[in-house]
């Protein structure tokens, strides 16, 4: 079975600085997808970024980028130029090929951006 682990329950960062959230996962699969989702207090999950396991190049979306280390089964999220609106719970998630998109989530990291 696949598992996703986020070892940082809480993190904080000063506005405009950079922060990195950690995620590790366990799988015997070779093909899969990894995601980072943001969940603000409003509860709606918002997709931040995703990475295909077969791609070596790390995904980037504006201020958000990932460091994908397939051999180490590590998938960290870097947020540059942090903004107050980035304050939220962040979840790392895993999806296997041929499972229709079922997501397996980590426990989450609560990020606070301080002015």
């Amino acid at each position: 079975a696949q598992t996703v682990t986020q070892s940082q329950p809480e993190m904080s960062v000063q506005e405009a600085e950079t922060v990195t959230l950690s995620c590790t996962y366990d799988t015997s699969e070779n093909n899969y997808y990894l995601f980072w989702y943001k969940q603000p207090p409003s509860r709606q999950m918002i997709l931040v970024i995703r990475q295909e396991a077969y791609k070596q190049q790390n995904a980037t979306e504006n201020r958000f980028s990932v460091n994908f280390q397939k051999a180490a089964k590590s998938f960290s999220l870097k947020i540059s130029d942090s903004q107050l609106g980035d304050t939220a719970m962040y979840f790392c998630a895993f999806s296997r090929y041929n499972q229709g998109g079922k997501l397996i989530f980590g426990q989450g990291t609560e990020l606070s951006v301080k002015p």
Partner: protein
Amino acid sequence: GAGVSQSPRYKVAKRGQDVALRCDPISGHVSLFWYQQALGQGPEFLTYFQNEAQLDKSGLPSDRFFAERPEGSVSTLKIQRTQQEDSAVYLCASSKGQSFIEPQHFGDGTRLSIL
């Protein structure tokens, strides 16, 4: 509609009562997912539909949980004889196609409290 709509937003029920939670996916979305999110935890997969077919119900915690999507659009998650451990936020998500790589769009969830 513009997004995934869930109702009610909050539901309080006494232990032993039956409840029904509704999800209206984005129009035309083929895939629909239900997740259960306990307080302070990441969401856990419950079940998955492709159109009206329930392709995976491996995450349903007991036979008290039942989900349907009879016309391939609106879905209802029913919990019979509710128990206190059923208290959680229930999230619904939909995605455009049948491919697992399509991003999931989440609703705001229904917060269920069992007294």
